[in-house]
Amino acid sequence: MARVLLFGRLADVAGWRTRDIDGSSIAEIRAALASDAPLAEALEGRGVQVAVDRVIVRGEAALTAASEVAFMPPMSGG
């Protein structure tokens, strides 16, 4: 189980921002989200980054029940 957060347009595509999802890895979280095809496609989009417990990760990460997994589309400040 992990707390999944969606930011920017990803939350609009999914229609939610925060959800608890079963999974012990990022791949398992992605698989659990794959039933929503538009979201799954958006998560694979160019420039989407993943953070685990508020640290940007590249590749895979082990998750615990307390993990917070964020999917973040391309960033634009200023």
Binding site: L5, F7, G8, R9, D12, G47, A51, R54, V55, I56, A70, M72, P73, P74, M75, S76, G77, G78
Partner: protein, 149 residues
Amino acid sequence: MSVVLQDAPFEAGALLTAFSAGRTETGAVASFTGLARAEGGGTSILELEAYPGLTDAEIARIAAGAVERFGLQDWLVVHRTGRIAPGEAIVFVATAARHRREAFEACDYLMDYLKSRAPFWKKSHGPDGARWIEPTERDRTDVERWETP
């Protein structure tokens, strides 16, 4: 050396005055203020989303790079979140250094990184609906200037 994320509007002049006060070994303070544009009526409100705990940490990491690269004495980044009206300030960056070149360049560097590397998501609301704003090609090439050896 601090990052402030806030929903409330801020007054850039007051921030600059406070940042500049009491400096006896700083020869140069540079600042930048970014304002929300109306885009000819196309944007009535900008909505800025951040990820507290990650956004501030990433900005601090970017600024630590500027301190090392330019020998900055101090810096301040104030960034709005939430709903911002045209004409209001979105971002304020100030840098302090012994000499002007370092202060100017560090301010430019920080803004280039904030535009495309800091965790913010920006949505424009207008008469034609809402749309997400993502970094432009120009934003990408601006930040790449600092990454070529």
